[in-house]
C-alpha cells in the first residue's frame, strides 16, 4: 500500500486541480464504456488493471463515478474476484499452475521451492517490487504439467532444478531465503 503514492503522485493535490496523467489514462479507458451502465464493470476493472498492472484506488474512484455505482459495490466486486489486485505488483511474475493435473505431477513442491528460493510467499510481492509469486488453478496446458508461467511465458514439464535456474535469471535470489 505504501507504493500507492508512486503511481498516483497528484492524487492528493485536490480534485479540482489539473487531472493527473494517471487520471487522464483512466478517463481514456472509461470512454469506451457508456456512462451510468454498471454492466461493463468487470471489463472496466480488467482494462484498468491492464494499464496499471493493479487497481489503484483513485482509478477505482473514477470508475465508480463513471459507471454510476457506489464505491462500496465497486470495491466489493474488485475484491471478490481472484484476478484483480489491489496493491502494486512485482516487475516480474512467477505463476505456478496448481490445477489438478499439475498437482498430481508435483506442483506443490515447485511452489514451495519458489517460495524458498525467493522468500516471497504465494500471493505476495517482494518488498522491492521485483517479483510477485502466485498460484493459478489450471491454464489448460495440462499435457505440460507441472507448468510454471514466468512473465507470461509458459514453461512445461518443470523440475525443481530448472525452476531455480529460471527464477534466478529473473531476480537476484541470493541471500533472499
Amino acid at each position: 500500500m505504501r507504493e500507492e503514492d508512486r503511481s498516483t503522485p497528484a492524487s492528493d493535490a485536490g480534485a479540482q486541480a489539473e487531472p493527473s496523467s494517471d487520471a487522464r489514462r483512466v478517463a481514456a479507458l472509461l470512454q469506451e464504456y457508456p456512462r451510468g451502465d454498471p454492466g461493463g464493470l468487470v471489463d472496466v476493472l480488467h482494462d484498468i488493471q491492464a494499464e496499471f498492472r493493479y487497481l489503484p484506488e483513485d482509478a477505482l474512484r473514477q470508475a465508480a463515478q463513471h459507471l454510476g455505482v457506489p464505491r462500496a459495490q465497486l470495491y466489493g466486486v474488485a475484491s471478490f474476484y481472484r484476478g484483480f489486485h489491489m496493491s502494486p505488483r512485482g516487475e516480474h511474475t512467477c505463476t505456478v499452475c496448481v490445477g489438478t493435473a499439475c498437482h498430481v505431477r508435483g506442483a506443490p513442491r515447485l511452489l514451495e521451492q519458489v517460495e524458498r528460493d525467493t522468500g516471497v510467499a504465494a500471493g505476495a510481492t517482494a518488498v522491492d517490487l521485483s517479483l510477485t509469486v502466485e498460484e493459478v488453478g489450471c491454464v489448460g496446458a495440462c499435457a505440460l504439467g507441472p507448468l510454471v508461467i514466468l512473465d507470461g511465458e509458459y514453461h512445461g514439464h518443470m523440475t525443481g532444478e530448472r525452476l531455480s535456474r529460471l527464477v534466478g535469471k529473473l531476480v537476484d535470489t541470493e541471500g533472499r531465503s
Binding site: 468487470v42 459507471l67 459495490q73 489438478t100 493435473a101 498437482h103 495440462c142 512445461g156 532444478e161
Partner: protein
C-alpha cells in the same frame, strides 16, 4: 472488400466462390497452435516454416496456418500436412528445413518425426493410424485441425454458417423441435436437456431476451471449451446465433475465463467478422432476425460458472449465486428471459441442425446422445483431448486412447467431473461414461475433465487439494459452504499431517452430509464428492493415515521420511549439491546419508538422483 450477405443464397454463392478458388490438392502445413503446443514453441515453428518456405519453396503453392488445438497434446508441437494427412509430432525449429525439403518438395516421409504405436511398434503416418485418434469419433474437434481459426472464409469454405441458413429456412419452432428430438443435454456438467431449456426461454414473456455462452471453464484439468473457442470460434458463435433465433433472443454474451486470453481474442475477432458479413447484427442474412453478441471476461472466480452467479457478474456485481424462485429462462440477466449454455453445447447445435436429430441421437446412449470431449490428463501416457461417443467406457478412454499409466506404475484412480466429481478406482473402469452412470457411483461426468492417478498419488491429499480449492472459491453466501468447507479442509489437513483419528473420519462424513444438504448452489452441494468418493473407495488409505500415521503413496510430508539406500548410492553428491538445507552428508564416492533433523522433505534429492537411491518411507 466487405460484402454483406443479403440472403441464404448469397451465402451459398460466397461459399462456392471460396471453394472454387481453392485447389483441393493445394498443400498446407497446419501447425497445432493450441495452448499446449504454443507453450512448446509451436509459434516459433510456424515462423521458421514461413521463412523456409519463402526461401526454398517459393514457387510451390503452400498454405501455412496455426490451427486450434488438434487434441494430441502429448505429441506437441504437432504438424499436420494437408492433403496427405501426414502427422508429425514433437516438431522443433531444427526440423523445419528437413520437412520442407523432404516432405513438402520431395514427397518423402521424415520417419523420426512420426508417432509410433507402442503396442505394435509400427510407425503411424496418418492421423487415422495413431492409436490416440483411432478410438475417437471427432465431430466437434474435427475442424480444429483443418481451420485457420482467425479466418471466417476458412470456416465458411468448410460449411460454416450453412446450419444458420438452414435454421432460418426451418423457422424457430422447427429448430427447437429438432434440438429437443436430438436429446442434446448440457455439456457444462449438469446435463439438463437443452431443448427443454430453450423451449422455456422461447415461451417466456418479454421483448428482450438474452443468450449466454458459458466459457468460464473453471474445472482444473479441463480445457475442451478453450480448445473449441480457440480452434473453431465460428462454430460456437453459429450455435449461439441459431439458439437466439429459436428462442427469439436479441442479445448475447460470451463469458470467457480471463485465464484464456487467446480464446477471448479469437471469439472477439469471429464476432467482428460475422458482423461484417451480415451473419450477426441487424437483419441476419436478409431476414427479420436481429442478434448481436459481446464478449465479457471473467474475473477469476470459479463460482461464476454457476448460471445465476455468471449473470450477477455480467451485471457488474459480485458473482454470488441467487435462489431461483423463478427459472432463469423467465427472469435471468437484468431480470429478463435468459438462456445459458456451455461452449460445447453451443458447438453441437450447428451439427444437429445440418445433419438432423436422428443422426445425432444415433451416437451415444439412449439417455446421453452425441459425443463428448474429455480432457485426459495427469498420470497418463497420451495426454490430450479425446472426443468419443457418450457411453464409451472409462477403460477405453484411459487405456485405449490414453495408453494407460506411464513408467510401469499401477493405475489407482481416475478423477472425473472436476472439483464437483469424484475419484473412481480400477474396478469401475468398465463403467460407460455418460450423464447418469457415474453419478450413481458417487462421481459425475461433469464437463469432461479426467485426471488419471497412479500409485504415487495419495487419495487423501487429492481430497484435501479439492477442499482447499473449493473452500477458497466458495462465494461465502451460505454458512454451510463457507464454513463447512473450511472445516473439512482443516480436518483433511489434520489427517495428512498425522493428527487424525477415527473420530476425525466420522466428523468429516457428518459435516460433508450437512454441507451437501444445506448449500444453495452446486458448488456447495457437490463440493463433498471428492472427499466422500475417496472415503468410499480408498478408505484403507485414510485408515493408514489415521491408524498407522503412514502415507502409502509417500506424499504427505508429515508422515514420510527420506533416506538413502547405501547399496545404490555411488556418492556422486548430486543430492548434496542440490539440497537446500545441507541435510545430505557424506564423503565423495562414498554412500551419502540424510540428516533427518535438517530435512524439510522437499524431495529434490529424489528428483536429482540418477540411481534411484533416495527412498521414501
Amino acid at each position: 472488400m466487405s460484402v454483406r450477405l443479403q440472403d441464404p443464397a448469397a451465402l451459398t454463392r460466397y461459399r462456392e466462390d471460396l471453394v472454387a478458388a481453392r485447389d483441393p490438392r493445394q498443400k498446407a502445413l497446419a501447425v497445432c497452435g493450441g495452448t499446449g503446443c504454443r507453450a512448446l514453441g509451436a509459434l516459433d515453428v510456424v515462423a521458421a516454416l514461413r521463412a523456409e518456405v519463402a526461401a526454398h519453396a517459393a514457387g510451390c503453392d503452400v498454405g501455412l496456418r496455426a490451427t486450434g488445438c488438434q487434441g494430441f497434446c502429448q505429441g506437441g508441437p504437432m504438424l499436420l500436412l494437408v492433403p496427405e494427412g501426414i502427422v508429425y509430432q514433437h516438431v522443433g525449429v531444427g526440423d523445419v528445413a528437413e520437412i520442407v525439403e523432404k516432405t513438402l518438395l520431395g514427397g518423402e516421409i521424415v520417419e523420426r518425426l512420426l508417432c509410433t504405436d507402442p503396442e505394435t511398434d509400427l510407425q503411424c503416418v496418418r492421423e487415422e493410424e495413431i492409436p490416440f485418434y483411432q478410438r475417437q469419433q471427432r465431430v466437434l474437434l474435427r475442424d480444429n485441425g483443418l481451420l485457420d481459426p482467425t479466418s471466417i472464409d476458412a470456416s465458411i469454405a468448410l460449411g460454416g454458417y450453412a446450419a444458420l441458413a438452414r435454421a432460418l429456412e426451418m423457422g424457430p419452432e422447427a429448430v427447437l423441435h429438432e434440438i429437443k428430438r436430438s436429446g442434446l443435454r448440457g455439456r457444462g456438467g449438469a446435463g439438463f436437456p437443452t431443448g427443454r431449456k430453450w423451449e422455456a426461454c422461447r415461451r417466456a414473456q418479454g421483448d428482450l431476451k438474452y443468450v449466454i455462452c458459458n466459457a468460464d471453464e473453471g474445472d482444473p484439468g479441463a480445457f475442451m471449451d478453450d480448445a473449441l473457442l480457440e480452434g473453431n470460434p465460428h462454430g460456437v458463435l453459429e450455435g449461439m446465433i441459431i439458439g437466439a433465433f429459436a428462442m427469439g433472443a436479441r442479445e448475447g454474451h460470451v463469458y470467457v475465463r480471463e485465464e484464456y486470453p487467446v480464446a477471448v481474442e479469437r471469439i472477439t475477432r469471429a464476432i467482428e467478422q460475422a458482423r461484417g458479413l451480415g451473419l450477426l447484427g441487424e437483419a441476419i442474412l436478409g431476414s427479420e432476425f436481429c442478434f448481436d453478441v459481446r464478449v465479457s471476461r471473467g474475473g477469476g472466480a470459479f463460482v461464476c460458472g454457476e448460471a445465476s452467479a455468471m449473470m450477477a457478474s455480467l451485471e457488474g456485481r459480485r458473482g454470488v449465486p441467487r435462489r431461483r424462485l423463478t427459472h432463469l429462462s423467465e427472469r435471468g440477466l437484468w431480470g429478463r428471459p435468459t438462456n445459458l449454455n456451455n461452449v460445447e453445447t453451443w458447438a453441437n447445435v450447428p451439427h444437429i441442425v445440418l445433419r438432423g436429430a436422428d443422426w445425432f441421437s444415433s451416437i451415444g446412449t439412449e439417455g446421453s446422445t452425441g459425443t463428448k470431449i474429455f480432457s485426459l490428463v495427469g498420470k497418463v501416457v497420451r495426454t490430450g483431448l479425446v472426443e468419443v461417443p457418450m457411453g464409451t467406457t472409462l477403460r477405453e478412454i484411459v487405456f485405449g486412447a490414453g495408453g494407460g499409466v506411464p513408467g510401469g506404475r499401477a493405475f489407482k484412480a481416475v478423477q472425473t467431473g472436476g472439483p464437483s466429481g469424484g475419484c473412481l478406482p480400477a474396478d469401475k473402469l468398465d463403467l460407460p461414461v455418460d450423464f447418469d452412470t457415474l453419478a450413481a457411483e458417487g462421481s459425475m461426468m461433469g464437463s469432461g475433465g479426467m485426471i488419471v492417478m497412479d500409485e504415487d498419488t495419495c487419495m487423501v491429499d487429492v481430497a484435501r487439494y479439492f477442499l482447499r480449492f473449493l473452500a477458497s472459491e466458495s462465494c461465502g453466501n451460505c454458512t454451510s459452504c463457507r464454513d463447512g468447507l473450511a472445516i473439512l479442509r482443516d480436518l483433511l489437513g489434520d489427517i495428512t499431517e498425522g493428527r487424525g483419528t477415527r473420530e476425525t473420519l466420522t466428523l468429516v462424513e457428518e459435516i460433508a452430509d450437512t454441507v451437501e444438504a444445506t448449500s444453495l448452489c452446486a458448488l456447495g452441494t457437490s463440493a463433498v464428492n471428492p472427499v466422500l468418493s475417496t472415503l468410499r473407495y480408498f478408505r484403507d488409505e485414510y485408515l493408514a493415515h489415521v491408524d498407522d500415521k503412514h502415507c502409502p503413496a509417500g506424499v504427505c510430508k508429515a508422515l514420510i521420511s527420506f533416506t538413502i539406500d547405501a547399496e545404490r548410492c555411488n556418492g556422486c553428491a548430486l543430492c548434496a549439491v542440490h539440497c537446500p538445507k545441507g541435510a545430505v552428508v557424506g564423503e565423495k564416492k562414498r554412500p551419502h546419508a540424510i540428516t533427518q533433523e535438517l530435512c524439510i522433505k522437499c524431495g529434490i534429492c529424489k528428483d536429482v538422483c540418477r540411481r534411484d537411491a533416495v527412498l521414501v518411507h
